[in-house]
């Protein structure tokens, strides 16, 4: 039997913990590379958009790289994983710093928790009943670090989390896109397991 090693492209748009994500993906047994070269990324079986940054700055970086249309086209044919900000930019708009249009691949807005409110730390998620897939166990802790969250239709949400009694989407799925509001790559054993399962789920779908 020939075992195919999947290739994962990590998009470098100046907004992510690129090197640590790359190391983690490789440790999971995949081939991975960091790039913003369209033809190179097109050769990958799956693309990951990492995310540590500001929404307006991120969209500006994508426009500077002339890569927004590429992401939209890629998502029609191949799977994408978005992490934190890398998930938020898939939505219609955000008011982080100023009102900014996102990629609008998923209808919804990115909003803040409230003035000066930030969720930092380890928390669990709640699976949606009858969701297309359940990726996590509700006892598992994941690392969250965000001041903004995506507000969208229930049909795209596969797991929720809470912050100061506010229920908000923690995992999103639309077709072959899966987005995490938390950082699986920084969530130790549970996060690595989740990333591996998600990549395999998307590539075998």
């Amino acid at each position: 039997m020939v075992y195919k090693k999947y290739s994962i492209g990590i998009l470098d748009y100046n907004c992510g913990n690129l090197n640590s994500l790359n190391s983690i993906i490789r440790s999971l047994g995949f081939i991975s590379f960091i790039s913003n070269n369209k033809s190179r990324l097109l050769g990958a079986d799956l693309m990951i958009l990492p995310g540590v940054g500001n929404f307006s700055f991120a969209m500006q970086q994508l426009r500077n790289l002339k890569i927004t249309q590429f992401i939209k086209d890629y998502s029609k044919n191949k799977p994408i994983i978005g992490i934190c900000l890398g998930m938020q930019i898939f939505f219609s708009t955000s008011n982080e710093t100023k009102k900014t249009k996102g990629l609008n691949l998923i209808k919804g807005d990115v909003k803040n928790f409230g003035k000066n409110k930030c969720k930092v730390g380890w928390d669990t998620c709640e699976n949606i009943k009858n969701a297309s897939i359940n990726l996590i166990s509700e006892k598992q802790f994941f690392y969250f670090n965000h001041t903004f969250f995506a507000s969208t239709e229930n049909k795209y949400v596969i797991a929720y989390s809470y912050f100061e009694k506010k229920k908000y989407p923690a995992i999103i799925r639309k077709n072959n896109f899966i987005g995490f509001q938390f950082h699986p790559e920084k969530s130790q054993y549970n996060g690595k397991k989740l990333l591996k399962n998600t990549i395999e789920e998307l590539l075998n779908d």
Binding site: G16, N17, S20, V52, V120, N145
Partner: protein
């Protein structure tokens, strides 16, 4: 419910992880990337790196050390502080694989830079570090660049006015840093800001940690020296605390 963090602190000086005593006296421990790798294996909730300026250090973050750390396949959140003076450096540090940056002296010298950095990497990725000491019933901040102490009251308004540009405040008790549980809780009585706090500097005392964890404004307790010399010291501390406010200890990372 979000758990409070038991964070581990690593002080780096001249490319070596060191045991620090009030940031005045240092004993070498070893390669920072090895120390940090161990803490990550033990399931530390977060690793806070203080890369101190010395005669040998450049005027920019220590990218060679950051790269060595981030190549280690670590899946633990990392915060780096050390000579991040402009947005370009901050973005480069994040891209290297760090999740958050800590900034202290910038508030005395060029606080506008903090806004510029936050506009690029997001306020969630910025921690304000206050190097404090409490003496004679008064709280002081230490400006480490200009080597002077300023009453906290003179900076309170400025710290508050910048609050949209950082996510948490790290309170460092510089006098008691490296001690076994002498963190001066009087510091907390003086700080009345609506921001979550990380406490560092002499926190290794079970009663003190448990008391602080119950304070709703405290999101993290950071401990350094005490974790370097015993296998599984981190998990043992979590086990002894028996607190459901923090994530349970983990042995198989």
């Amino acid at each position: 419910m979000i758990k409070k963090r038991l964070s581990t602190a690593v002080v780096i000086r001249d490319d070596l992880a060191v045991q620090s005593f009030s940031f005045k006296k240092y004993l070498p421990i070893g390669k920072p990337e090895v120390v940090i790798e161990n803490l990550s294996w033990w399931g530390s909730d977060e690793i806070l790196i203080f890369d101190l300026k010395s005669k040998l250090s450049k005027q920019e973050p220590n990218f060679s050390i950051i790269d060595k750390i981030c190549e280690k396949k670590l899946s633990t959140p990392i915060t780096y502080s050390g000579r991040i003076n402009n947005p370009k450096d901050a973005v480069k540090v994040i891209n290297s694989g760090v999740e958050r940056v800590g900034m202290g002296n910038i508030i005395f010298n060029n606080s506008r830079k903090m806004q510029q950095i936050s506009d690029m990497i997001g306020s969630q990725a910025v921690i304000l570090i206050l190097n404090c000491f409490y003496i004679g019933g008064k709280l002081y901040l230490r400006d480490l660049i200009n080597n002077k102490s300023i009453p906290y009251s003179e900076f309170e308004t400025k710290i508050e006015s910048l609050s949209s540009f950082y996510s948490e405040i790290m309170i460092v008790d510089i006098q008691n840093e490296g001690s076994c549980g002498n963190f001066d809780l009087n510091i907390l009585h003086q700080i009345k800001l609506n921001k979550k706090l990380i406490l560092y500097g002499g926190m290794y005392n079970f009663k003190k940690i448990n008391k602080c964890l119950k304070n709703k404004m405290i999101s993290s307790i950071a401990i350094g020296n005490q974790f370097y010399f015993h296998e599984h010291a981190y998990q043992e501390l979590k086990n002894k605390l028996k607190s459901n406010l923090i994530r349970p200890q983990f042995y198989n990372n």
